[in-house]
Symmetry: C2
Subunit: 127 residues, 2 copies
């Protein structure tokens, strides 16, 4: 049994460090990533690395917002991403689903959020 909490904690820490290469390293070579749910999934670790490289260009702060829910080889967890969008500090409420491979790599990631989950916090810049 893998320690999924430790992997999720690493995911959050590496994104907060802006280290997209080490984020991508948590994924399986053939992983898929659907962020947000409903968009065309990225397929394979190279497409996933490119996704995080693009995303971490705008500094962001992730924070877990509740307990990890582990069921079989999947986990669901609520978290927030705080980021500067159009000059305003914005908190986005998200729920991620990770499905793990037997080896403890992320085999599939799906991110749930929509327009109602963008909460403008103020007009100042975060970074």
């Amino acid at each position: 049994m893998q320690n999924y909490q430790a992997i999720v904690d690493e995911y959050v820490a590496r994104l907060n460090a802006g280290d997209w290469e080490s984020v991508a390293a948590l994924f399986d070579r053939d992983a898929t990533l659907e962020d947000p749910v409903g968009s065309e999934p990225k397929r394979g670790i190279e497409a996933i690395a490119a996704f995080y490289r693009g995303n971490t260009r705008n500094p962001m702060k992730l924070a877990l917002a509740g307990a990890l829910r582990t069921a079989g080889r999947e986990v669901a967890f609520p978290f927030t991403v705080t980021v500067t969008l159009d000059g305003a500090i914005t908190r986005i409420d998200i729920i991620d689903i990770f499905s793990f491979t037997e080896e403890g790599k992320i085999g599939a990631m799906r991110a749930y959020f929509g327009p109602d989950n963008f909460n403008v916090q103020g007009a100042d810049r975060l970074f």
Copy 2:
């Protein structure tokens, strides 16, 4: 566009009322239900009604624990179920995923929780 928040609010209210028939009525005739994720899915509205009939035999209190995350025709939401288990009031932290049909029925439900999500609150009975 269906009002998914209203459907989730109804789901919570009907479960809190112990009204399993009206809970099942929120689902599509051919819906699937996987609760918890990793278990054999129930298929069809009759199997789903039987599941809720069994579940509501032990009174429970549901409460949303964060914003609904809507992405395409799916929603994810964190909530708690408080129930008396083995004589102890227990709060279970859960994340549900609903996938909706075009008609606004629940076409698929998946519930994420595991052993770590059972939090004993006290030795008294809730009901």
